[in-house]
C-alpha cells in the first residue's frame, strides 16, 4: 500500500472515529425521516455531502502538506523515496479519507431517497475538485511564503469553497437541456460532468507538478501552458458568445471567440502572477541563466504568468489580424476594438509592473495585498469617482475602454505601463545580497 495513504489511515481512522461518523449521520437522517419523510433524504444528503466534502474536505486537503510543514515532518517526506504520484494521491485521498467515509453513508442515503445518480456523481466530483483545489492553492501559498501556516490553510480552504460552492449549488443540472459548444449540442448533465472531470484532471495534474517540484525533481512549465491552451479553447467554445457578439456588432464568430479566449488568457495571467512565488533568489538565477545562455534552465524557472501573457499576446494579435484582414472594418464593426485589445494588454503589463514593484522589497508578503488594494482602487473606485465628477471622458485612462478615442485609450496606459516597469526595474536593481550578520558566538 502507498505508505502515505497507510499513514493517513492510521491517523484519520482510529476505531472510535469509525463509529462516530455513522452515528452522527444516523441522527441527521433519522431527524430527516421524522421531519420530511423519505423525499427529504436527497437534499439533506446533498447538503451533508457538500459540508463534508467541500467545506471539511477542503480544510483537510489544505492542511495535508501545510500540516506537515508545521510539524516539521515535511523535510523527512521530501527526503523519502515516495514517488511524486504516490505522494499526490496519498496526501489528497489519505488526508480526506474520513470525510469520504462519511460521504459513502450519505451517498447511500441519497440513493435510498431516490436522488438522481447524476446529481450524486456531480457532488462527489465537486468534492474531489474542492479538495484538489485546496491542496493546490495551499502548495502555491506555501511556495509563495504567505505568513502563518494557519492562515495559509484557511485561505486555501476559502478559495476552494468560493470556487466550488457556487459552481455546485448555483448551476443546476437540467436533464432535458443542452449546452451548445462549438455548435455541438451536448446534453447538459453530460457536459457538466465531463467538464468537472477534465478540470479535476487538470487540478490533480497541478498538484502533482507542485509535489514533484517539492520533492526536488526538475520541472518545466508544460502543465500550465497546457492548461492555458485548454482553458482558452474551452471557454471560447460556448456558443452564447456568438449571440453576445452579434449584439456588440462584432464582424465574425471567430473574432468573438478569439476575444473571449484573449480575455481568459489575461485573467489567467493575473491569477498566476498573484499566486506564484516571487523568490528573489530564483529571479536572480533566472537572470543569471539568461546571461550565460542556459535557456532550458531559464525556462524551467520562468514565472508561469509569462506563458499565459504570451498566449494572450498571440490571441490579441490574432484578434486584430482577424479584424483587419479576414473581416476588414466595416461600418458595423467597432473601430476601437484594436486599441481596446492593445489597451487590455498594456493594463495587464502595468499591473504586473506594479505588483513586482510592490513585492520587490524587504517585506514582500504585504506587496500582494497592497497591489490588490491598488487594483480595486484603480479599476473600481477611481472610475466611479470620475463618473460622479462628470469626467467620464477620462475613464479610459483607468480602465480598458472600447468606446473612447484611440489616443485616450492607448497613450495614457502606455505611459503608465512604462512607468510601472521602470519602477519595478529600479527596485530590482536596488536589491542586492547583503552580508550575513555575524551573530553571536554560541560555543
Amino acid at each position: 500500500m502507498n505508505p502515505e495513504f497507510q499513514r493517513n489511515l492510521w491517523l484519520e481512522i482510529p476505531a472510535h472515529r469509525l463509529i462516530a461518523m455513522p452515528a452522527v449521520l444516523a441522527l441527521v437522517f433519522i431527524a430527516t425521516w421524522l421531519g420530511g419523510g423519505r423525499e427529504a433524504f436527497p437534499w439533506v444528503a446533498e447538503l451533508t455531502l457538500g459540508v463534508l466534502l467541500i467545506v471539511w474536505g477542503s480544510r483537510l486537503a489544505a492542511d495535508a502538506v501545510l500540516g506537515e510543514v508545521s510539524a516539521r515532518t515535511w523535510d523527512g517526506q521530501r527526503m523519502s523515496a515516495i514517488s511524486p504520484w504516490d505522494m499526490t494521491w496519498g496526501k489528497l485521498y489519505g488526508s480526506t479519507i474520513y470525510v469520504w467515509y462519511g460521504a459513502a453513508w450519505c451517498a447511500i442515503a441519497h440513493l435510498f431517497g431516490h436522488g438522481t445518480l447524476v446529481e450524486l456523481i456531480r457532488l462527489l466530483l465537486s468534492g474531489l475538485q474542492a479538495q484538489a483545489l485546496a491542496l493546490l492553492v495551499s502548495l502555491l501559498l506555501m511556495r509563495r511564503g504567505v505568513e502563518g501556516l494557519r492562515s495559509q490553510v484557511a485561505l486555501a480552504q476559502i478559495v476552494a469553497m468560493l470556487v466550488m460552492i457556487p459552481l455546485q449549488f448555483l448551476i443546476p443540472v437540467v436533464p432535458s437541456s443542452h449546452v451548445s459548444w462549438f455548435r455541438l449540442a451536448v446534453p447538459q448533465p453530460a457536459f457538466v460532468i465531463l467538464s468537472q472531470l477534465v478540470f479535476l484532471g487538470w487540478t490533480v495534474m497541478g498538484v502533482y507538478r507542485m509535489i514533484r517540484a517539492e520533492l526536488q525533481y526538475r520541472s518545466d512549465q508544460s502543465t500550465w501552458i497546457g492548461f492555458v491552451l485548454f482553458f482558452v479553447v474551452y471557454i471560447s467554445g460556448f456558443d452564447f458568445i456568438l449571440l453576445a457578439s452579434a449584439k456588440a456588432n462584432l464582424p465574425s464568430a471567430v473574432m468573438a471567440r478569439l476575444l473571449v479566449a484573449f480575455c481568459a488568457a489575461v485573467g489567467l495571467t493575473y491569477i498566476a502572477a498573484f499566486l506564484e512565488s516571487k523568490n528573489l533568489v530564483r529571479m536572480r538565477l533566472w537572470v543569471g541563466y539568461a546571461q550565460i545562455g542556459r535557456l532550458s534552465r531559464m525556462l524551467e524557472i520562468t514565472p508561469i504568468w509569462v506563458f499565459s501573457l504570451s498566449v494572450a499576446v498571440l490571441l490579441a494579435a490574432a484578434t486584430v489580424a482577424d479584424l483587419f484582414m479576414v473581416a476588414p472594418p466595416t461600418a458595423t464593426a467597432p473601430s476601437s476594438l484594436a486599441p481596446f485589445v492593445f489597451a487590455v494588454l498594456l493594463f495587464c503589463i502595468r499591473d504586473l509592473g506594479m505588483l513586482y514593484y510592490l513585492v520587490l522589497h524587504d517585506r514582500p508578503r504585504r506587496g500582494h495585498m497592497t497591489a490588490l488594494i491598488y487594483l480595486v482602487v484603480l479599476y473600481f473606485v477611481a472610475p466611479v469617482a470620475l463618473s460622479t465628477a462628470k469626467l467620464d471622458v477620462l475613464v479610459p485612462v483607468l480602465v480598458p475602454s472600447a468606446s473612447g478615442p484611440a489616443e485616450l485609450v492607448v497613450l495614457p496606459v502606455l505611459i503608465q505601463a512604462a512607468v510601472a516597469i521602470m519602477l519595478a526595474l529600479q527596485r530590482w536593481r536596488a536589491i542586492r545580497v547583503v552580508e550575513m550578520d555575524r551573530g553571536t558566538i554560541g560555543a
Partner: protein
C-alpha cells in the same frame, strides 16, 4: 598513499554559494570529508551551519557550486543522494499521534524497504538503540531523549552512508547527552560518516574526528580533532624545578621538533614524531640525564582553543 586517501573521500563540496533573498549565507564553501569520519560543524549563530546541512541533504538548492556524495551530484540528482543520506533536524519532526512502531514502519515503507524486510529492519534498529520496549507507545508521550532515539532510528533505517545531525544534543538532559555521544561514536566506528552541527564543543570533542569551523558563511578551519596515526604529537614536559639542561637534553633526541622552552627552563612544548614506545624510551633517557621530571603529557589542542583562535581572527 594519495590515491588511497582520495578513494576514501565520500563528500566533496566545491565553491558552494547559497543566498537567502537578501543575505548570502554560504560563500565559496569547499571541503572534502572522508568516509567513516565524524565531523563537528561549529560556528556562531547565523554562520550558515544549518543552511550547509540542508544543502548537503539536498533540501536546498544552492546558487552555485557543487556537492557530491559518493560521486552523486546532490544538486543535480538530489533524489539519488537522499538514499545515501539520513538527516536528524534540531526539531525532530515526528508523528506524535503514531506509535513508535507505526512511525518506523511508515518510514521504512517510505524509503522503499520491502514489506518482508520492514519488520526485521525496524527490530534491528530499535534493539540497537535500546527502545524496543517502548515501541508501542505513542511517540508524543515519550521523553525528549526517547523521541530523539526514535528520530535517529528513522534516519538510519535505510542504512545511509552519511548521517547529518543538526544540534542533536539540544534539549537533552546530561544522561541522554552521554548516551547520544556513545551512540554517535558507535555509528562512526561502524563506518557511517557523520556530520554533527552543535554549539557544545566539549561534547563534540568526545566523539568527533574532524572539525569544520564556519564563520560568516565561510569555512575558516577544517582540521582533525586528533593527531592522525604517524603524525607528530604535541607533548608538554614539566620539571619540578627549572634547569638549563632542559633544552640541550631535548634537542639531543632526533624525534623532537618545534621546541618551545620557557625562560626558566621549567617546561617545554615540542612535537614528537616517535610512537608510544619511542616516547617511553625518550622519557627514560631524560630521567637518566638527571632532569627532575614532574610530568610528560600529550597536549591536544582542544576544539574550544582552535575555535577561539579562529574566531579571534579578522572577519573576511
Amino acid at each position: 598513499m594519495a590515491l588511497a586517501e582520495a578513494r576514501k573521500v565520500l563528500i566533496v563540496v566545491r565553491n558552494l554559494v547559497f543566498d537567502y533573498p537578501t543575505k548570502r549565507a554560504l560563500r565559496a564553501v569547499s571541503f572534502d570529508i572522508q568516509a567513516g569520519t565524524i565531523t563537528g560543524l561549529v560556528g556562531p549563530n547565523g554562520a550558515g551551519k544549518t543552511t550547509l546541512l540542508r544543502c548537503l541533504a539536498g533540501l536546498e538548492t544552492p546558487v552555485s557550486g557543487s556537492i557530491s556524495i559518493e560521486r552523486i551530484d546532490v544538486t543535480e540528482r538530489p533524489r539519488e543522494a537522499h538514499r545515501r543520506l539520513g538527516l536528524l533536524q534540531d526539531v525532530l519532526g515526528l508523528y506524535d499521534d503514531l506509535t513508535g512502531r507505526q512511525g518506523l514502519m511508515y518510514q521504512a515503507a517510505a524509503f522503499g524497504i520491502g514489506p518482508r524486510e520492514r519488520q526485521k529492519r525496524v527490530m534491528e534498529v530499535v534493539t540497537r538503540l535500546g527502545i524496543a520496549d517502548r515501541l508501542d507507545d505513542k511517540i508524543g508521550t515519550l521523553s525528549r531523549g526517547l523521541r530523539q532515539r526514535i528520530a535517529i532510528a528513522q534516519s538510519i533505517l535505510h542504512r545511509p552512508k552519511v548521517l547529518l545531525l543538526d544540534e542533536p544534543a539540544s534539549g537533552l538532559d546530561p544522561d541522554a547527552r552521554t548516551a547520544l555521544s556513545e551512540l554517535l561514536r558507535t555509528l562512526g566506528q561502524e563506518g557511517m560518516t557523520l556530520i554533527v552541527s552543535s554549539h557544545i564543543l566539549a561534547e563534540l570533542e568526545d566523539y568527533t574526528t574532524h572539525m569544520i569551523i564556519l564563520r560568516n558563511g565561510r569555512v575558516v578551519e577544517h582540521c582533525p580533532t586528533r593527531a592522525p596515526a604517524g603524525k607528530p604529537r604535541r607533548l608538554k614536559l614539566s620539571l619540578a624545578q627549572g634547569s638549563t639542561n632542559l633544552k640541550p637534553a631535548l634537542l639531543a633526541d632526533a624525534a623532537v621538533a618545534a621546541l618551545d622552552v620557557d625562560a626558566h627552563g621549567q617546561w617545554a612544548r615540542f612535537d614528537f614524531s616517535g610512537d608510544i614506545a619511542a616516547q617511553a624510551q625518550f622519557l627514560q633517557s631524560l630521567i637518566a640525564s638527571g632532569l627532575p621530571i614532574a610530568a610528560l603529557q600529550e597536549e591536544a589542542r582542544s576544539m574550544q582553543s582552535v575555535y577561539t583562535e579562529k574566531m579571534r581572527g579578522p572577519k573576511r
